[in-house]
């Protein structure tokens, strides 16, 4: 098919296959891709609303055994820079989130062998008993798989236990590119193969939970592999309908083992637009302003995105890889309205919650995102001693006398 006939098919609202998607991606002018994506966005969201969520992006530990080559965030077991957040620290973060109108934590972290499944269950249960309405959007598929391996429990059992403890929904992190050639090169094949990532999501959806899906492109992947990734997500969405949204971002190379250069702004807009075209069974696409900056983040709204994502409040992973952008609620709303849309708050399932909160009550402006912990603070939370550590450094650390004054 020619580009024109593929474009006509998209305009008619018909599905395109992977071969035609690749042809569009590699051959269509950027403006055409944007127009097609914008046509679909307008069809799916005719009211002109662009949504966003007030939640906090917390990384409970940076200790990780996976050692993905693209990750600047993790620290190996035993590292002096490794941290685990304590329950009280997390409660404080929830209090701060609620104070600015947030109702959810996006909670993800490293594959820490010294945090067993009961630690997560106790944490989730403690959060729910203190804050019954607060939502936990937590643990990407590779983290769930890690807990399954650590606890020797099947994934459905792990998911069931986490849900019983308070898990509300699952973020789509750790997908990178769902092609095993890429995953081997990125050293993330062993944390989860493409099939494993998808099968954890299937279990999550079957358990009645909703999740998001993601794609990190621009490392060692080819355009064809990006298309394959999108098609695999589309297939699973056909099967379960469990994904609420899709988010794509470019690999951030600074401070990573893989190194390299970042994909360009045009690459991002083209990839976003293609995602909107291929993922015809996804309602929502988020802008990744945290990797692209506020300006290109806003331009996402012309290239298929209908959601500005989260105000985040805190961010650790992308910052470690060299990108540091901040948008508070007022700034997100200014960008949405400047682009000609109506800004509305939402929750994880994309129910609209209302107009911007900062117009109803005074919310302090924020120009920087918080971090998990102040630099250099690697103190051990007291409750960790209740859980067995699996690694030798973890065992030694937990049996050492507490250096803090009584």
């Amino acid at each position: 098919m020619t580009i024109a006939s593929i474009a006509a098919r998209v305009r008619d609202g018909r599905r395109i296959d992977g071969r035609d998607a690749l042809r569009l991606y590699t051959g269509a002018p950027t403006a055409l891709l944007g127009r097609l994506a914008d046509t679909i966005r307008a069809r799916k969201h005719p009211s002109g609303v662009v949504s966003y969520i007030i939640d906090r992006n917390v990384n409970y530990t940076n200790v990780c055994v996976a050692r993905c080559a693209f990750c600047a965030f993790y620290r190996p077991v035993g590292s002096g820079d490794g941290y685990v957040l304590g329950f009280d620290e997390l409660f404080r973060k929830i209090d701060e989130t609620r104070a600015v109108g947030g109702g959810q934590l996006l909670l993800q972290g490293g594959h820490n062998p010294d945090l067993p499944l009961p630690w997560y269950e106790d944490l989730f249960a403690a959060v729910k008993s203190r804050y019954p309405d607060f939502r936990l959007h937590a643990l990407s598929p590779p983290e769930i798989l890690h807990l399954s391996r650590l606890s020797q429990e099947p994934v459905p059992v792990v998911v069931r236990r986490l849900v019983r403890a308070g898990l509300d929904s699952v973020p789509g992190g750790g997908a990178e590119i769902l092609v095993d050639r890429v995953r081997r090169e990125l050293n993330c094949y062993s944390k989860a193969t493409a099939d494993e990532w998808l099968s954890v999501m299937r279990v999550v959806h079957e358990a009645g939970l909703r999740s998001t899906a993601t794609m990190m492109y621009g490392s060692v992947d080819t355009p064809a592999e990006r298309v394959e990734h999108l098609c695999r997500l589309r297939d699973l969405q056909d099967e379960t309908g469990g994904f609420t949204a899709f988010i794509t971002w470019s690999y951030q190379p600074a401070n990573t083992a893989l190194s390299g250069v970042e994909a360009t702004g045009i690459d991002y807009l083209r990839t976003l637009a293609l995602s909107r075209i291929v993922l015809d069974n996804f309602d929502n696409l988020q802008a990744s302003w945290v990797t692209q900056g506020g300006k290109v983040g806003q331009l996402s709204l012309a290239f298929g995105a209908n959601d500005m994502g989260s105000v985040m409040i805190e961010e650790n992973v992308v910052r470690a890889a060299g990108a540091e952008y901040c948008m508070d609620e007022a700034e997100i709303v200014r960008n949405i309205e400047d682009a000609g849309y109506v800004a509305k708050r939402r929750n994880m399932t994309y129910d609209l919650l209302g107009d911007p909160l900062f117009r109803r009550r005074a919310i302090p402006r924020r120009t920087t995102l918080a971090v998990a912990r102040p630099a250099g603070d690697t103190s051990l939370p007291a409750e960790l001693s209740r859980y067995p550590a699996r690694s030798r450094p973890g065992r030694e650390q937990r049996s050492a006398p507490d250096p803090r004054p009584a």
Binding site: A254, V261, G265, K295, G297, Q298, G340
Partner: protein, 298 residues
């Protein structure tokens, strides 16, 4: 495409006068891509797929000695800052021209030179001749927002055999910019002394401009200001991502690409490779130029 926007774009194409309703459609609508496509068509008519860029070494006018030797990728050495006196300006140009043989030296804001000469057109004309003879290839910038009557400026520049690299809108934003664009469009002779128009603000205002407003500004500059050849974006000031996207919205020249790699994130790719990669990924053909707007492709 929205009917009002189509009507406004048709009016621009026909050279008709724009009314308030047209401005609203051009500057307030959601259909950013339609505006970009119209600007891209206008830009391709003029420049096809050619996108020029210049790699600049910036040197302070108060200490006109480059920190590093001027490398082979530099297409321009630019004096930054306001000279204390006319003599200091000439001396700085002479020093730099000696240290950077073969690389065009540019510098100064036209308004600063005018102020140094007490706004006397004869003294200014003499200073411009002295600067040119000392080795100044072009005056770096001329602020359109500070210009009431362009005619004497065009006269002084022409009379002294000088030219300006970039016409800027200073720090103007919003409706001030649209007014300026219409004024510049009516200035006879401006294109003969000014090669490029840099439509984005020279300093980020508060609150900062948005991606939509920046791209609308670039696109409308290309569509409206047809008496200046190039629409320019600044790689260092606006950042690679926005500058690159602006190329698909009517810009055809990238200013202020560093001549030397920054090592703050570790060396990854030379600025020349990086700008080439970005221009190519945007669907254009990269052409390095120097401070005189001459192509320097080996």
């Amino acid at each position: 495409m929205h009917d009002d926007l189509t009507a406004a774009l048709d009016k621009i194409e026909a050279g008709a006068v724009l009314e308030d309703r047209d401005w609203q459609a051009l500057t307030g609508g959601r259909d950013l891509i339609a505006l970009g496509m119209a600007a891209d068509t206008a830009r391709r008519r003029r420049h096809a797929d050619r996108t020029t860029f210049v790699q600049v070494v910036s040197v302070s006018v108060s200490a006109p000695v480059p920190a590093d030797p001027i490398g082979g990728d530099a297409g321009e050495v630019r004096l930054a800052g306001r000279p204390a006196t006319a003599e200091a300006a000439v001396a700085a140009v002479r020093t730099l021209a000696d240290r950077a043989p073969g690389v065009p030296v540019t510098g100064f804001a036209y308004g600063d030179l005018d102020a140094l000469c007490g706004h006397d057109p004869v003294r200014l004309g003499d200073l411009l001749v002295d600067l040119r003879e000392a080795g100044l290839a072009q005056v770096a910038s001329l602020a359109a927002d500070a210009l009431v009557d362009p005619e004497p400026v065009v006269g002084v520049l022409r009379g002294s055999g000088s030219a300006v690299s970039s016409l800027t809108f200073g720090e103007a934003v919003g409706s001030d910019v649209w007014r300026l664009m219409q004024r510049v469009k009516s200035w006879d002779g401006i294109g003969g002394i000014c090669r490029a128009l840099a439509p984005l603000p020279s300093a980020e205002p508060s609150p900062p401009t948005t991606g939509y407003s920046d791209l609308r500004q670039v696109a409308l500059a290309r569509l409206l200001v047809d008496n200046i050849d190039s629409i320019q974006v600044d790689w260092s000031r606006h950042g690679p991502k926005l500058a690159q996207v602006a190329l698909t919205f009517g810009a055809d020249d990238v200013d202020a690409v560093p001549a030397v790699a920054s090592h703050d994130q570790g060396w990854r790719r030379s600025p020349r490779e990086e700008i080439r990669r970005n221009i190519t990924a945007a669907g254009f053909r990269p052409v390095p130029r120097n401070g005189r707007f001459e192509a320097v492709e080996p």
